[in-house]
Amino acid sequence: MDRASAAVVKYSPLLLVVVAWEMAVRLRIVSPSFLPEFSAVAVALWNLTVSLALPQHIGISLYRQAIGFALAVLCGVALGVGMARIRALELALRPVVTLVYPVPVVALFPLLALVLKLGDQLQISIILLGTILPVIITSFNAARGVDHYLIWSALNMGTSPRRVLWKIVIPAALPEILSGIRITLALSFVLMVASEQLGAVGGIGAFTLSAGENGYYAGMFAGVLTVAVMGFVADRLHLGLIQRLLRWKEDL
């Protein structure tokens, strides 16, 4: 398939959804009081962008998402790989990780709000807590799964057991860690919006909530679309990073 027809196949479902949306509302299959026309959302998107309201909210949200997620990745990878290499750490953390993993972090909002007070730190903590466990688990499994022949080869060639971590375990586990992070990245945007809707000053989540509460549905959907685009762009950037870092990978 050539590039042009691939692009048609790739984007026509998206176009179809937009057209169906617009038609459904215009033909009154769906009442405009529930769902504004796509064109109205597009106009709202334009107005909110020009007035700089939307860019400001994006900035606030991205700040929270970036710090929370970066901390989750840094600490999560360190803990996960550490657990895979250090038996005592595994013993100590495994029950905590297994127990905490299914807890819906959003349900902890009132408690966290009490402890941390309202502010960016609250959103950052929720994003951090909600994404660190999958990162720990992926990193643990990735580091645990490293082919021991690679480690033996390195030991044979004079790498010290301590250095094996940096020279072999991390690069060998990197593909699995990065694909795990890619899935968690989407989750971080969900948590970003959810935590902002529970109580925040500014941010896309707070904006979407107040637009909805005030009956400004075109603005609310503009906010939702913005989150979708933010997630999409972040995913593309991460994919680009994967392709750069893993040029050596077999099936990339």
């Binding site: 022949y149 033996w152 080869s153 044979n156 790498t159 077999e250």
Partner: protein, 275 residues
Amino acid sequence: MLRETGLTKIRASGVTKRFAIEPKGEVLAVAGVDFEVRENEFLAIVGPSGCGKSTFLYMVGGFLDVSEGEILVNGKPVRGPGPDRGIVFQHFALFPWLTAKRNILYGLEERQTPPAERERIAEELIQLMGLSGFEHAYPKQLSGGMKQRVAIARTLAFDPEVLLMDEPFGALDAQTRAMMQAELLRIWNQRKKTVLFVTHDVHEAVCLAERVVIMTARPGRIKAAVDTSDVHAWDGTAFRESRELVQKVNQIWDLLREEVAAAQRVVEAGKLRDG
């Protein structure tokens, strides 16, 4: 073609290996192996699959501890991996994130060999192993034969006295395998090395080695050793089938047959038990 093979390079005495299996049990993999490998000798170990021949090799390499007994290399007990023993694995174990050349340079970099010296050694090995033009290829871009060439070059780079080879050509097709066997003999003739070569291929063992040690089914013990130094299968350009070669292969097969049958029975029993 006997060389100066007076000195003992590797001495194994009473080497036993037990593996713990969860929850409470153990498996005896190797049971009291005694033998010696002389300096610059090419020794092959054959045995049925699962007999512990690779386990034994990993203990010589220092990757696994012995449960009982002792392995001496140059008269010193083995305590972990060391640069005096280089290993080549069946599935190459190349670092996939490094190019062919960087794989070859790895050991030299880890040992902090001066850059100019590193470069010289790597270039020499790239020539020797016929890897020119593939220096900057990642392992994923190489065929099985080329990967094994890189793996051998990577091990030769730090110039170990002992070469431990764990079914190194087992993953290659027949033609590539014959090529690689010839390459290995050429290298062994060029650079003095003691070679401990594990294989389940009797023909390969007789073609390459000066002496073939036969191991029993698990738990692995030494059943017999057969001198194959008079076979001369390699005539400098090709491996030739000769009467001596066929005789030795038959002799080793006669020793091996009941062990292979015993190993098969263990496998079948396991299948029955595990359902």
